[in-house]
């Protein structure tokens, strides 16, 4: 007796296209009804010799049970679907809250994510700081015109020692150099303050500075990591320009410009080789160690990255603005 090999497969295929219960039962009787191949074949068994009769009967029984199972499952599935009351699944979802990181926090993390795998440790530091850590140890002599570049907030303190709101996160670098073993690879993210407010300046903004103190670091190393970082950050190959500048704590100092979008050169960060006076002040042997440092304003990077025109938007707590960062 010839048993078709693809009987189960074709049954499966036909079941898939069944649209109604009537169609289903029609199909089931086609495969398992009296006139179906399987059932009618049982009557034909009589005419076979005893040996082939046994093996054919076994084969037919397996086939029958497989088909029955197939149709049982299909029927259950069909009934489960029709038993529920039908919903308009396109109606709105229940209310839900979508949270989001603040864009400044997100951009800060993006910067940290580049440097973390390079084993830069993160030190956040104090926002209220003494004059020593914010200026003196960073080679800003008292009365030096360089101090006028930083409009500083001062605090009313009981004693003589001057407390101020840090004007950059470099204070964390001094603390770390005095405390941590060398070589030192670090980032200092955080808030900084300048007594200045207009459309492009806020009295508080966010900085991330980096510092490396190691043997044999060169200006070429500094250039390498800055360019690589900027390409990672903006996710594209970039034209990057280094030009001489002045910071009391680095010598030589450089400003870094990029070409981004359709603008001309845009200043994105400052950097340089750590001034020997700064290293010496932290008891570091300048014959053995050298350092480089860099610093960037996160608001500026965020404005470029997201195309924000007004720096004040970041601190406006306006959901119309902020909700755009969650979708």
């Amino acid at each position: 007796m010839q048993i078709p090999q693809d009987l189960i497969d074709t049954a499966k295929l036909k079941l898939k296209s069944v649209q109604s219960e009537a169609e289903f039962f029609q199909l089931r009787s086609q495969y398992l009804g009296k006139k179906s191949f399987v059932i009618s074949s049982f009557t034909e068994l009589k005419s076979l010799d005893p040996d082939s009769k046994v093996s054919a009967a076994k084969e037919l029984n397996i086939l029958k049970s497989k088909l029955s199972h197939l149709f049982e499952v299909a029927l259950e599935g069909m009934q489960a679907k029709t038993d529920v009351s039908l919903l308009d699944t396109t109606l709105p979802a229940d209310p839900y809250f979508v949270g989001a990181e603040h864009p400044i926090a997100e951009i800060s993390q993006r910067v940290i994510h580049y440097f973390s795998p390079l084993n830069y440790q993160v030190f956040s530091g104090n926002e209220i700081e003494t004059d020593f850590f914010n200026f003196e140890a960073l080679n800003f002599p008292e009365n030096h015109p360089a101090r006028q570049m930083h409009d500083t907030f001062y605090l009313n303190a009981g004693k003589k020692s001057e407390y101020l709101l840090r004007t950059h996160t470099s204070n964390s670098q001094i603390h770390a150099m005095l405390r941590e073993p060398l070589p030192l690879y670090m980032l200092s993210p955080g808030r900084v303050y300048r007594c200045d407010s207009d459309t492009t300046h806020l009295p508080m903004f966010t900085q991330i500075e980096g510092l490396v103190v190691d043997e044999d670091v060169s200006f070429g190393d500094l250039k390498g990591i800055i360019i690589n970082f900027l390409e990672y950050f903006f996710n594209e190959k970039m034209e990057v320009r280094f030009r001489p500048s002045y910071f009391p704590f680095t010598e030589p100092s450089a400003e870094v410009d990029i070409k981004f979008g359709n603008n001309g050169w845009l200043e994105v960060l400052g950097c340089g080789m750590v001034h020997p006076n700064v290293l010496k002040g932290c008891n570091i042997d300048t014959q053995r160690y050298r350092g480089f440092a860099f610093g960037m304003g996160i608001e500026r990077l965020a404005m470029l990255y997201y195309g924000v025109d007004d720096i004040r938007d970041f601190y406006s707590s306006n959901l119309d603005f902020l909700n755009q960062f969650s979708s």
């Binding site: 949270g99 830069y120 070589p183 490396v212 390498g224 001489p244 002045y246 902020l322």
Partner: protein, 671 residues
């Protein structure tokens, strides 16, 4: 410093366009911005020597590998020493002092139009032809000059710090300044006639009727001038230059130039020049090791090339010994002290962009740093639907007090940007309340915000900074959906929110302890403890603490991430039971004065056999319940790790549980 492009172009004899010229200077460290036909140079405080046409010319020619060539014309002058003209000089404040006396002036004309336009473009107002001429020479050579009306000056002069602490002095323009003894002054026989390097006196200023003048050119010590002008609320072109350092070798030459140009605009009868005794400044010499430079920069320049670069900038080579070079610093450079200072000059000439680029290096194995708890908490909040906000940390005294739960002394600014907000925040809630208020006005009705930042307070003579993460949930009493399902947020939702956050971070042994006296919250508030450490608070916001910013109920929490340990101790896992669990309910009546926490404590601290967990299934008060009592349905779950429990074992534990509650809290079975 603003310079007219057309004027500069002629001065430098160059054909470069305005943009190209600006680019040349920007690339060597003098950032330029163009404003119409004017180039505005951003001269950094270390480079006072470039605050003149002469300085710009020197830099420009160095870029073309040409040494500076002076092309100005000068009169020939001889300077005499005479105590009846210049008597004493305080050498700590004044390096040299030169005076040119011009008598019998007549037919004084204005400067020619080109020079006048040049001055106006530079932002230097036109005052009097002789003053304008002094200013012109200053812009040309970098040497500030002062012109006194000689007929109002009672010679000789003394260059001295005032003897008394406070001296009244009427400055040009008529303002009276109280001159302190730290300010160097020019005094004649009648007293102070100028604050050195900052401003001249009203009395001796030149006017239309001026017939004779004394023209001053001097070198004042930058350290003695620094910050002085600010004290008097003044910032003059002269003080700007003196603070940064004026070339001490140029004063007599500047007077010679002044006289040369004076002849173009005036006639005079007599010229006399005097010099005060001067301090010979010892030129600075700096050694340079070529190999060290090349290691430092990543370059491989030859000694010859290095010498060439520095010489075009005016440095004099005084020693060449294979790898060891030594240079004398020109008198106008006040920023040269160390070998690294020379490195910068060489690299500026070589071009920063030409320095090779090395691949990034990484540091030694990093340690786990301190801010992982806050990052995790923030991640949890974002996932929980909170929008992060950031605010300025300045607050008013009222706001600080309204949120001052800990009796903190505020950290106060002595120069706040807004005098109504002189304090540093002691809580993050103030700005969050304003943020809710702002967004409710915009039409938002259900809001979840959080902020992460530092709060501050004063401790004796020091200041403390603490990291906070504070969250605020604002809900209209109930939010209804289109299907009429209502969403409510209450104290217990808040509790769930905070516990979910902390437990997801695997913070161990969290305890919530009622605290009804926190300023920010109503009596419905709790402290969050981990062991004995308080790591935060949560509660219903006290409407009075919001200073009328929030009217509907709001819920808030604050967590101190620095207090949460992120050191992940290895988890200790218990074996998972393979045996079935059974649950039993117990209906009790209990006096309302007992808290649920007390029930929990009694049951969970008593080691009831096989008790796996406890839950509150229901509470009921009202009909059928005696006044002052509450009915509670407690749901016990029993399970053994080693066997299936028998009915009798479970019953025994349930009896024990009731017995404990009855004994400790007088609980009764509710029939």
């Amino acid at each position: 410093m603003k310079v007219q492009y057309s004027y500069l172009k002629n001065y430098l004899s160059t054909d470069l366009s305005q943009a190209k010229l600006a680019d040349v200077f920007t690339k060597v460290g003098f950032e330029c911005e163009s404003d119409g036909s004017i180039i505005d140079f951003d001269i950094t405080p270390n480079r006072g020597d470039v605050l003149s046409l002469r300085g710009l010319q020197r830099e420009f020619q160095a870029q073309q590998s040409k040494a500076f060539k002076d092309k100005l014309y000068y009169e020939k002058l001889t300077f005499k020493k005479d105590k009846t003209i210049i008597n004493t000089i305080d050498k700590s404040g004044c390096g040299n002092y030169q005076l040119m006396l011009v008598r019998g002036l007549h037919s004084v004309k204005e400067l020619d139009k080109k020079k006048r336009n040049f001055l106006i473009a530079a932002g230097v107002p036109l005052i009097h032809p002789l003053v304008d001429l002094g200013n012109y020479v200053m812009l040309e050579m970098g040497t500030p000059m002062h012109v006194f009306d000689l007929d109002h000056l009672e010679l000789p002069l003394n260059i001295a710090f005032p003897a008394s602490k406070k001296n009244s002095f009427q400055a040009i323009g008529g303002d009276t300044k109280i001159v302190e003894s730290a300010s160097l002054t020019i005094q004649d026989q009648n007293g102070i006639q100028a604050i050195a390097g900052i401003i001249g006196g009203h009395e001796t200023s030149v006017s239309k009727s001026t017939k004779s003048v004394a023209v001053e050119a001097a070198f004042f010590n930058p350290a003695k001038i620094a910050n002085q002008a600010r004290k008097y609320g003044l910032a003059t072109d002269a003080s700007h230059r003196f603070e940064r350092g004026v070339d001490p070798a140029l004063q007599q030459k500047a007077l010679a130039r002044f006289l040369f140009l004076l002849k173009e605009i005036a006639r005079y009868d007599l010229i006399d020049c005097y010099e005060g005794s001067s301090v010979k400044l010892k030129p600075t010499a700096i050694s340079l090791n070529v190999e060290r430079f090349n290691n430092f920069s990543g370059l491989s320049l030859s000694a010859k090339k290095i010498k060439l670069f520095l010489e075009t900038l005016g440095f004099t080579s005084i020693l060449t010994k294979t790898d060891h070079l030594k240079f004398q610093v020109p008198s106008y450079r006040f920023d040269m002290e160390l070998e690294e200072d020379l490195y910068e000059e060489i690299l500026r000439c070589y071009g920063y962009d030409n320095i090779p680029i090395n691949p990034p290096k990484s540091g030694p194995v990093a340690k786990v740093t301190d801010h992982s708890a806050s990052e995790k908490l923030k991640g949890g909040l974002v996932f929980g639907g909170f929008q992060e906000l950031m605010h300025m940390p300045f607050v008013s005294t009222e706001t600080f007090n309204a949120l001052n739960s800990n009796d903190w002394s505020p950290a106060e600014l002595s120069n706040p940007i807004n005098e109504n907000e002189p304090l540093m925040r002691g809580s993050l809630f103030g700005s969050l309340f304003s943020a809710i208020n702002l967004n409710v006005k915009k039409g938002y009705s259900a809001i979840k915000f959080f902020e992460h930042g530092n709060v501050f307070h004063k401790i004796k003579n020091d200041f403390a900074q603490e990291s906070h993460i504070s969250g605020l949930i604002y809900f209209h009493e109930s939010q209804k959906t289109w299907s009429d399902k209502s969403f409510q947020y209450d104290f217990y939702s808040l509790k769930a929110e905070v516990l979910k956050l902390l437990e997801t971070l695997r913070v161990k042994s969290i305890q919530l302890v009622p605290n009804s006296s926190a300023t920010i919250f109503t009596a419905n508030a709790m402290d969050i403890f981990v062991g004995k450490k308080k790591i935060g608070m949560l509660g219903e916001i006290n409407p009075t603490s919001t200073q009328k910013l929030i009217k509907n109920p709001a819920f808030g929490f604050e967590i101190y991430p620095e207090k949460i340990s992120t050191k992940s101790s290895a988890l200790k896992l218990k074996p998972v039971s393979k045996f079935p669990s059974s649950s039993r309910d117990l209906n009790i009546l209990i006096n309302q004065s007992y808290s649920y926490a007390q029930i929990e404590t009694v049951l969970l601290n008593s080691k009831i056999k096989f008790l796996h967990s406890l839950a509150l299934a229901n509470t009921f008060e009202g009909k059928g319940i005696p006044d002052g009592s509450i009915s509670m349905t407690l749901r016990f779950m029993f399970q053994s790790p080693v066997k299936s429990l028998k009915e009798s074992e479970i019953n025994a534990s349930m009896d024990n549980a009731f017995h404990l509650l009855n004994k400790a809290l007088k609980a009764k079975i509710r029939s």
